[in-house]
């Protein structure tokens, strides 16, 4: 009763078939993982100029000199990591808070203009970011004059429409009876939100938190536009600068890339369930 023939009587055929599938999948997995593998093993090479070396697929020596080289590139290298952490954490917290509040209002509270406002948000989601990038830059840099500050890095991402949509979708499935009971018990809307909606939405909020943190840790474009001194850059922008300043230093470049990616790998492997759930949540029906 499935796509594949279960081969009920002959398990050896099923095992053989699954083995063949596994081998194909494994080959494809190797191709997918190769760049990451290559990045990590190469980062342990000596920090010499690329012309003097050959690329190896299996490391012949183990040295942390390239990491040292990367951190010594500028006095702000640690600061880049700290900046990324500050920005990503703040944006994560504000998104969970404000998107869950808005999601609750859009899914469960009756007020005038609710449908109209929500459709406006959805339509705006389809506008490519190239349209807003120039006016946003002008707003932050020429009007507010706050370039090169944490505020400039954080403010535009304070709460995203996508996260509001995610929260609304999930909270819409919470039964109204629970909320009505709470109302009869004398809860006001804030108490309902805080004591009932938030605990029931833990999963979707965790997914939202993780994906928002990842997006903001990895984002390059906006920090690149609004920062102009080394001490305010994030790790992604710093990595790009490092590359242009040291075009021939292969191993240190890989060390820097590994450093920028490692926190996300650790997060991914410890919270894998939420990452994988996050892909499908709110994405498709059927």
């Amino acid at each position: 009763m499935s796509l594949y023939n279960p081969h009920a009587g002959r398990p050896q055929i099923r095992i053989a078939r699954n083995t063949v599938l596994m081998i194909i999948l494994l080959a494809f997995a190797l191709a997918t993982l190769f760049p990451i593998y290559y990045m990590i093993i190469s980062s342990f090479g000596e920090p010499v100029e690329a012309g003097a070396m050959d690329y190896k697929l299996v490391p012949s020596s183990f040295s942390l000199e390239s990491y040292k080289f990367f951190f010594e590139f500028s006095e702000y290298t640690y600061r880049w990591l700290l900046n990324s952490l500050i920005v990503a954490t703040t944006v994560m917290v504000t998104n969970v808070l404000f998107a869950s509040m808005a999601g609750y209002a859009f899914s469960k509270i009756q007020f005038k203009g609710r449908a109209a406002i929500f459709s406006l948000l959805l339509i705006a989601m389809m506008i490519p970011y190239q349209v807003t990038q120039v006016p946003l830059y002008i707003l932050i840099v020429n009007i507010f004059e706050i370039q090169n500050t944490y505020t400039a890095l954080i403010l535009p991402g304070l709460v995203t429409v996508y996260n509001i949509f995610l929260a609304k979708q999930f909270m819409g499935s919470i039964p109204n009876e629970i909320l009505e009971c709470a109302k009869i018990e004398g809860c006001n809307q804030f108490q309902i939100y805080f004591r009932i909606i938030l605990p029931l939405s833990k999963t979707v909020l965790a997914v939202m938190a993780i994906l928002t943190f990842m997006d903001n840790w990895n984002t390059f474009f906006w920090p690149f536009l609004v920062t102009n001194s080394m001490d305010m850059q994030t790790i992604q922008v710093g990595l790009k600068n490092f590359r242009f300043a040291n075009t021939t230093y292969f191993a240190p470049m890989m060390a820097g890339a590994t450093i920028s990616a490692l926190p996300m790998f650790i997060l991914f492997f410890s919270l894998q369930k939420y990452f994988l759930e996050g892909v499908t949540v709110g994405a498709v029906k059927g």
């Binding site: 796509l3 209002a105 002008i138 990452f275």
Partner: protein, 300 residues
């Protein structure tokens, strides 16, 4: 009774409405300031020769210049080529992989899902650095070693206009299918077993089941991935910017990169705004066409 009940009920609704507005207040403010205002502002700037103080109104000049600009059309063609080469192949690849994952045990499914998703977790900047070295033009470069092993010779992958686009496409093929595999697999697991049962009673083969049950059942998923894939691909900027800078000879200049260059390299904000709105219009039209022709019998 009703006379007493009414005012109480009305007051309650009124109170709730106030809570509603309070709950969306911050979100709405952020939206108005950082999305709505910029969109309106982009529209205004696109009719101006922008200066920090005293921009002058130039009518449709930015638009007419855009349509006369050979580079703009070249960027459109590049973007279309990139999209046509990446999106359908990625879809097909993800579909095939998710079909192959399906019969495995739950644990193995999770392992493969995690493995294929991993590149999406690493930052684009980090990955572009790695690929930059994989495509090293010297004979010792990894990719050159692979191609010369198969007798295809060595090439200046990112540095020649013949191969630069292909190199970016290859990179996309190998690092951007995790999400679609997971979504496809979720949809595959959601297909009702009774369809297969009925097909088996009629003696349907594996490929018949695949074609007559799986493909139609996954149509909404495919449409969703296609539309989001094309939208994403039309906005592609980062890889081209970091790996080739649009070169050589603008062979990899896509619309996203062209707009960026006009805005932040040449500071022609008016032109950039006009081009970004043209891009938005193109994306809207393409999405509409996809829904119109492929979404006919899709129910949501």
């Amino acid at each position: 009774m009703t006379e007493y009940a009414k005012p109480i009920k009305r007051r309650k609704i009124k109170g709730d409405a106030a809570w509603g507005y309070a709950f969306i207040a911050v979100a709405l403010l952020v939206f108005a300031m950082f999305t709505l205002y910029p969109v309106i502002s982009a529209l205004i700037i696109s009719f101006q020769k922008y200066k920090p103080i005293g921009s002058e109104f130039v009518g449709f000049e930015n638009y007419t210049e855009t349509f006369k600009d050979k580079l703009f059309w070249k960027a459109i063609v590049n973007t279309v080529v990139y999209t046509v080469l990446t999106v359908p192949v990625s879809l097909l690849l993800s579909f095939a992989v998710s079909i192959m994952i399906l019969p495995l045990k739950k644990k193995m499914q999770t392992v493969f899902k995690a493995v294929y998703y991993l590149p999406a977790v690493a930052s684009g900047v980090a990955l572009s650095l790695v690929w930059l070295w994989i495509f090293d033009p010297m004979p010792v470069g990894i990719f050159n070693k692979v191609t010369s092993f198969f007798g295809l010779g060595t090439h200046n992958w990112l540095g020649s206009s013949a191969y630069a686009m292909f190199s970016l496409v290859l990179m996309a093929w190998l690092s951007s299918h995790g999400t679609s595999i997971i979504i496809y697999l979720a949809a595959l697991l959601g297909i009702d077993g009774s369809y297969y049962e009925a097909a088996e009673l009629d003696g349907a083969s594996f490929f018949q089941k695949l074609w007559y049950i799986v493909v139609p059942c996954l149509k909404p998923t495919t449409l969703f991935l296609l539309v989001t894939g094309v939208i994403g691909s039309f906005q592609v900027f980062q890889n081209a910017y970091l790996m080739t800078g649009g070169g050589p000879d603008n062979a990899t200049t896509m619309v996203g990169l062209l707009i960026f260059n006009n805005a932040f390299k040449y500071f022609e904000f008016g032109k950039a705004a006009a081009q970004s709105l043209v891009l938005a219009a193109i994306i809207a039209v393409i999405s509409f066409i996809q829904f119109k022709f492929l979404g006919k019998d899709v129910e949501y």
